[in-house]
Symmetry: C2
Subunit: 200 residues, 2 copies
Amino acid sequence: MSPSLEFWFEFASTYSYPAAMRVEAVAQRAGVSVVWRPFLLGPIFAEQGWNDSPFNLYPAKGRYMWRDLERICAAQGIAFRRPSAFPRSGLRAARIACHHADAPWVPDFVRAVYRANFAEDRDVADPVVLRDLLASIGEDRSRLEAASAPEAKGALRTQTERAAALGIFGAPTIAIGEELFWGNDRVEQAVEWCARAELP
Amino acid sequence: MSPSLEFWFEFASTYSYPAAMRVEAVAQRAGVSVVWRPFLLGPIFAEQGWNDSPFNLYPAKGRYMWRDLERICAAQGIAFRRPSAFPRSGLRAARIACHHADAPWVPDFVRAVYRANFAEDRDVADPVVLRDLLASIGEDRSRLEAASAPEAKGALRTQTERAAALGIFGAPTIAIGEELFWGNDRVEQAVEWCARAELP
């Protein structure tokens, strides 16, 4: 069995976008597989006393982040357009990705949502947009409907609690056992760590 | 004249340690010179409503940072010991580095202070320790005394105000004109940017 890492991400998270777009390719080259772990930052930020993205609460940090993200996307060769609304709720998209976690289309769905939000300025909180994105990867609206059932909602809550219990405080975070790697900047290092199985 | 970058740093800042230890060597290899810009994060954090390091205010982030810093120092081949007190005031050290900014011994002094704090667990807020560190690089206590004159205190205040005006919100930050690169992770990218003179 190949070593695997957990990629913890939040659809509203800006730095999760470039990370989500390349993590699978980077991992595959190293013989590592990716377990996609959507979660919600909202409850974790609320614990820290934040009721909004820190990039909105701290404007200097926010201004820097948008410029930094623009440079990162240019270097990575992926499209970027600053969304006209930020943050957009990733709740519905995260329920879909969480409920269908083992489905083979989930990685494509994740990337389609990030692209829509951060390259095409589409409102990924809107069910109509999500149905469109599902259709674009050959899936239908039943995926969205299934993800609004009570057990699907509960699964995402449980997963978010697990993120907090792991010590996750931001996104993206790669977890390999108890070893955490926070941020888009750590993707390559985490994959390398996982490939070498440098577990504590 | 060679292109130059401004390295903005705070002696209490953990991630400034590995950055300060290598920035000059990385820059020199690229034909770039470094202008050392000590400043204080305290007033900038206070503006954001923080009366302590965010790594103390947000424990999950703090736990992660110490582990991350340990990995970074190991990879960079520099010693690291978690300080028994954090943060230690960098006020006196910053006044010295600011007042004597153009002196050729300042880069060695900066590195000596970081090593003392983050590899040797010494209290770099203590004037006795600072005199020792000055002596270790062949300078005497008069450097410390000169830096406690009113104009030296004012110079550091002015420099901290300039940091805030530039949009700096954390350390280390490399500034090239108005282009900012925040964090130890951005040292190589900033130097490369500067060498190519990709000014906006």
